[in-house]
Amino acid sequence: MVTGMPDDIDVTVMLFASLKEAAGTDRLQIRVPAATPVGAVWAHLPEPIRSTAPPTALRYALNDRWIAPGTPMSGGDRVALILPVSGG
């Protein structure tokens, strides 16, 4: 599927910690086919991130809620990539 098709959607990807540092930004706008699952976002990150394997412990949030990677996205969604946490 080619970007720019009528059924493509724009979503925001939120990045934190070393992902934010690697991307040089905390937010990316990407265009993906409608209903693309949350778990497919990694392949749309900028190089060199997309060429590395996503961390196995990566989790996702959609519009500020935890979500399973198979959940389809809609236009205007905010997807957050959550690396293993280290707060406290």
Partner: protein, 141 residues
């Protein structure tokens, strides 16, 4: 004061205690997490915390609610930004009628807050290097 908060300035344990206080409480358990000098190779001078703030607040509120189900009033405050050695990055207060519930709620809250809240730290070393603890740059500890 909100019972769950993210702050960019020093934590105020006294305010958390006041927020949870009540005449039917006989015991207050508090946990304060502080930056440790640590040092595998080079000395740590500070930790720098970053949060996914919206979800971190929601997750800390969920943690506080679970801890309160043990019979306590619970407040959680996490600091963001740079936290020097000896300073507090997280403070948890659990007030209950008796000390077993206060301790249990406090312990549950700190364990779950560390495990679940989308907050990350990087260690800032004396030699100027900094390493994220997020499973990518370095293991979470």
């Amino acid at each position: 004061m909100a019972l769950v908060s993210l702050r960019h300035d020093p934590l105020r344990v006294d305010e958390l205690i006041a927020a949870t206080a009540g005449p039917d409480h006989g015991g207050i358990a508090v946990f304060i997490g502080t930056t440790r000098r640590d040092a595998d190779r080079t000395e740590v001078v500070a930790l720098e915390y970053e949060a996914y703030e919206e979800l971190a607040l929601a997750e800390l509120e969920a943690v506080a609610a679970e801890a309160e189900a043990l019979g306590a009033r619970v407040a959680i405050s996490h600091r963001l930004g740079r936290v020097a050695v000896g300073e507090a990055s997280i403070a948890i207060v659990a007030a209950a009628a008796h000390r077993p519930a206060a301790f249990a709620a406090c312990r549950l809250a700190i364990d779950e807050a560390k495990r679940r809240a989308p907050i990350w730290k990087r260690t800032v070393h004396a030699d100027g290097t900094a390493v994220w603890r997020d499973g990518v740059s370095a293991p979470v500890s």
